[in-house]
């Protein structure tokens, strides 16, 4: 199942709608990295609210997205990790270290805006 990617201003928003296979996740990674360049996106939000499970493959793929997008000049934030999903992730030993997370879409957008402002301030 393909994940729809919306362009919202300078940001890309990937909104996962259902459980994803490993192939779906890899496809999402490729699509996001390609679109960061195509749309000159400064930020990426991956909304995982509807994801049933975040296992080691999902975490590895999202971590790769974050690092690859960063190398292309774009910040990524993962939003919508549900409490029971977070619990299982911690038990599994999956920490998403080095990856920004936010409670929901609204907080994710706020985070990216803040990052953008920090970039401007830094440039001054």
């Amino acid at each position: 199942m393909e994940v729809p990617i919306l362009k919202q201003g300078q940001y890309l928003i990937a909104s996962i709608q259902s459980a994803l296979t490993d192939a779906d996740l890899s496809q999402l990674r490729e699509a996001l990295i390609a679109q960061v360049g195509r749309y000159r996106a400064r930020g990426v939000i991956v909304d995982v609210t509807a994801l049933d499970v975040m296992d080691s493959f999902a975490v590895r793929t999202l971590r790769d997205v974050t690092h690859m997008a960063r190398l292309r000049g774009s910040e990524t934030v993962i939003v919508g990790i549900q409490p029971e999903v977070a619990f299982a992730m911690v038990q599994l030993g999956l920490t998403l270290k080095g990856v920004a997370t936010a409670l929901d879409l609204e907080e994710g957008l706020a985070f990216l805006n803040q990052q953008a402002r920090a970039r401007v301030d830094h440039a001054r």
Binding site: S56, F57, Q91
Partner: protein, 150 residues
Amino acid sequence: MPADERRLAVASTMPADERRLAVATDKDVVSARQLGRELAAGFGFSPGDQTVIAAAISEIARNILMYARRGEVVLRVTHDGPRSGIVVVARDEGPGIPDVTRALTDGYSTSGGLGLGLPGARRLMDEFEIVTDVGHGTTVTMSKLKRPQR
């Protein structure tokens, strides 16, 4: 007893809520964990435990795919007083695991993964057992008890 009757007798003592799923593609991994969640929900596990069980199944089923390419997952709920719960058996006829101790160590992987599949699944479940025979296959049996005795 004729063979047919014997088969029948065995079948009738099989738990009604046992489900068997072949694992040969990444879609099967999703199906296995969803079925596990469904069974766990039907058995009255909390949403938290349902997710824990689904995550453990996801890791173990993916290991089948990655290392053995095919195998099966058997899910069973057992009604046995304080030992009631869900049992997951993941079986393959793949290469086996030469060093089980290392395979159960966080961060050790021979496939380029995070190396958290087996040790993570073990942490998620209440009981965990691996039987492996190099060259012949691996069977992981793990269970989550409804009311773990702590």
